[in-house]
Symmetry: C2
Subunit: 429 residues, 2 copies
Amino acid sequence: MATKKHRVVIVGGGFGGLYAAKALRRVNCDVVLIDRRNHHVFQPLLYQVATAALNPSEIATPIRKILRGQNNVQIMLGDVHGVDAAAKTVLLEGAAVPYDSLILAAGATHSYFGQNHWAIHAPGLKSIEDALEIRRRVLLAYEAAELTTDPKGRSAWLTFVVVGAGPTGVELAGALKEIATHALREDFSKIDSGEARVILIEGADRVLPPYVPELSLEAENALQQLGVEVKKSARVTNIDDSGVNIGDERIVAKTVLWAAGVQASPVAKSLGVPLDRAGRVIVEPDLTIKEHPDIFVIGDLAAAQSDGKPVPGVAGAAVQGGQHAARNIALKLAKKPLEPFHYVDKGSLATIGRAAAVADFGRIKMHGFIAWLAWLFIHVFLLIGFRNRFIVIFQWAWSYFTYERGARLITGDSPPLLGPGATSYKSKK
Amino acid sequence: MATKKHRVVIVGGGFGGLYAAKALRRVNCDVVLIDRRNHHVFQPLLYQVATAALNPSEIATPIRKILRGQNNVQIMLGDVHGVDAAAKTVLLEGAAVPYDSLILAAGATHSYFGQNHWAIHAPGLKSIEDALEIRRRVLLAYEAAELTTDPKGRSAWLTFVVVGAGPTGVELAGALKEIATHALREDFSKIDSGEARVILIEGADRVLPPYVPELSLEAENALQQLGVEVKKSARVTNIDDSGVNIGDERIVAKTVLWAAGVQASPVAKSLGVPLDRAGRVIVEPDLTIKEHPDIFVIGDLAAAQSDGKPVPGVAGAAVQGGQHAARNIALKLAKKPLEPFHYVDKGSLATIGRAAAVADFGRIKMHGFIAWLAWLFIHVFLLIGFRNRFIVIFQWAWSYFTYERGARLITGDSPPLLGPGATSYKSKK
C-alpha cells in the first residue's frame, strides 16, 4: 500500500477500453477507466434497438458489473474533454486525473462531411440514446402517416432514407423494410405499412464497400429481394426536414438516418499531434504516439498500420488493440522493449433482414441463411453476460417465428403530429 | 358503410380506457381511442423499472398491438387538451374529434399540494419516462458518491428520501434499500452501497393508510427489517436540491422521490362541471356527468360512488369502470336504461423488497413470503402478452436468485457529477 503503483488511465469503455482493462488484470498496476456512460454498448446490435427488436439493457451492460471481479480497476463516470500530455493528466469537467500510462480509446462519432446542420434531420447510430431516438422517429412516422389524409404527406411519412451502405446502413435498411412488411402490418387501419419505401443511398458503386465485390453483390440482391431500394454512386448534396437531395434528384422523406461517415472523438485534437483526415491519431507500430511514448491510442481513435495495411475501424480491431496496449504496458513495466501490433482479421459479417447475411472469414465466404446463422451464433456468443445472451436468444426466436417486435415503444417528448401537413380527424368522413 | 355508426371516443389508454375499448368489441359502434403515448403501461410494476429490475418494454405494450384484432377500434396518437361538450368534440393540438359518446379516462398526475416548484427536486412515478428519470437519478447518485471524498457530500448522495407511504412509496422504498444492500454492493470501490439510507416519509400515522391497520403494521415491520427508516405523522414543509424539511427537522439528501399526492388530469377542468378537491369529475351512479349524459368518466379521473362508498383510485376500479361504461353505452344504443356502477374490491397487494408483501383479499389477509408469492402470480398473470410474462418471470427468477438488476443503465443527459461539492480525483492520494 505504501509504494505508489504505476497508474494506467483508460479513456473510453467501448470494446478497446474494456478489453484493455481486462488484459491488465494480472499486471501490477492501478487502472482507472473513465467513460461518459455507466454502460458498455455492444455496438454491432445497436440497430436492433433502433428497430424495436431488442431492449437497451439487452445490448448494454454496466461497466462496473463487467469489471466487478477485478480489484485493480476503478471506474469513473465523467466526460473527458482533453489530455494535458506535458503534465501527464486527463482533464474532465471539474477534475484532473494524473496517469503514468494512458490508453485513449474514446472512439468515433458521426461525421456529416462538414454539413453539421444535417445532424438534426438525419440522426446517426452510435449510442443507446441515438438508437432510442431513431426508434422514436421511425414509430412516430407511422403514427403520423396514419393521421395524415393527404396522399403526398402520407407518402413522405412512409419514406425512410438511410444514407450510407456500410454494415450499419445495410442492417438498418434491411430491418426497417422488415418491420414495415411484417411487424407493423396489422397495426394500422388507414395505412398499409407494407407500402413504406426504404431507400439506401451509397456514394461508392456498391454496397458494403469494405467487403469483397462478390459479397457486395449478394448483399444487394438480398436487399432488393426484401424490397429495399438501393441507390449507388449517389452523393447526398442536401438534407432538410422534408427530404434528401442527390444532385438534381429530390427524395421527399420525413425520416432520414445517417450511417455514412465517422470522425474520431475530439479528444484527439487536444493532444496537439498529427491527425489523419478523419481526425484520428497517427500512431507508431506499438500503438504509442511518437511524441508521447506513454500514450497508447486504440480502436476508432487510432490511425494504425498493421503489416503495412491500415487497421479497419471495427470492433475486432479495437479489442485486439486494447489487449495489445495492455501487453505493451506490462512489457514496459518489466523494462522490456514494446512490440508492434499485428491485427488479425477474424472476418466480417452483416445481416440483411430476417434470415439473410453475408460473411467473409477470409478463405470462407458465405451468404444467405447459413451466413445468417453464423452471424446469430457469433453475436450471441460475444454478447456479455449469460443473462443477456439468454434473453436475446429468446427475443430473436420469438420475433423470428412471430415477426413481432417487442420493444415498439415511443418514449421521450413527442412533437405534435398534427401540424400544417396533417388534416383534422374530422375531415376523414 | 352508408349508415353512420355511433362513434365512441375514448380518451386515455390506461386500464380504464383499454378495458372500455375491449368491452366495446361486440357493440355496433366505431371506437376512437386517443392517447398521448403509443403504449399502455402496466402501472403497478413501474417502480420495478425505476429500480432497474425490469425494462420498459416488459411492462409497456403498444396499444395498437393490444387492440390489433379489434376491427371497430381506431387508435390515434395525440395530446387531448380539452372537451367542447356543447359541440360534442374532443380538442387536440391541430385537430378536433367529434363523438356521440365520450369515455374520459385520462387518469391522474402528481400533485405537489400547491408546491409545484418541488417537482424538479422530487420526481413522481406515473410514466415510463418518469421511471427512467428516477432510475437515472438513483444510479447517478451512487456514481457521484463514489467520486465524492467529502464525507458529508458523500452521505447526501447516499441518502434517498421517498415522500408518501402508499403502495407506490412502500414498494419504491423497499426496492431502493434492496438494491443498496445487494445489487450494487460489489460495484463500487470507495463507497459501501449498503450504507445508503432510505427514508420513507408519511403524513398519516401508519404506512399504507388505505389498508387495514394490521397489514400496515406488518408492512412497517417488513420495511424496518429491510433497513428502511420510516417516519410517520411527518409533514414535508420544504424540498430543495439538497434535501427535505419536516417542520424543524432537515434531512440532507440529494435524491428525493415523490409518491404522495395525485391530482386528476387537467382535462377535467375543461368540462366546466363540478370537481372534487383532487380535481376529479363528480359522476352519477351510472358514471355519466349530470350535465352531459353522453360523457362517461372513469378511473382516476372520476369521483365515483359505489353503494354509498367512494370508489378507490386503483387499477381494478379503472378496469371495472371501463367495462361498465362500455356496457352502459351498449344499453343506450339498445334504448334501455343505464345501470349504476357497483365496484367489486378484489383485494389489495403491496410488496416490500425481495420476498415480503402484504395482501388483503377481504376475508383473507396475508403477509410475508406467501403474500409475496400471491403478488408475483397475480401480477404476472395480469401482464399483457405471453412474451412479456415469460421474460418478466425469467428476469424475476434471475434477480431473485442472483440479487442482480438487469436494467442498470443510466441513459439521457447526465449532469456533470463533479460540481463544487465534489473534489478532484487528484486529491485522493
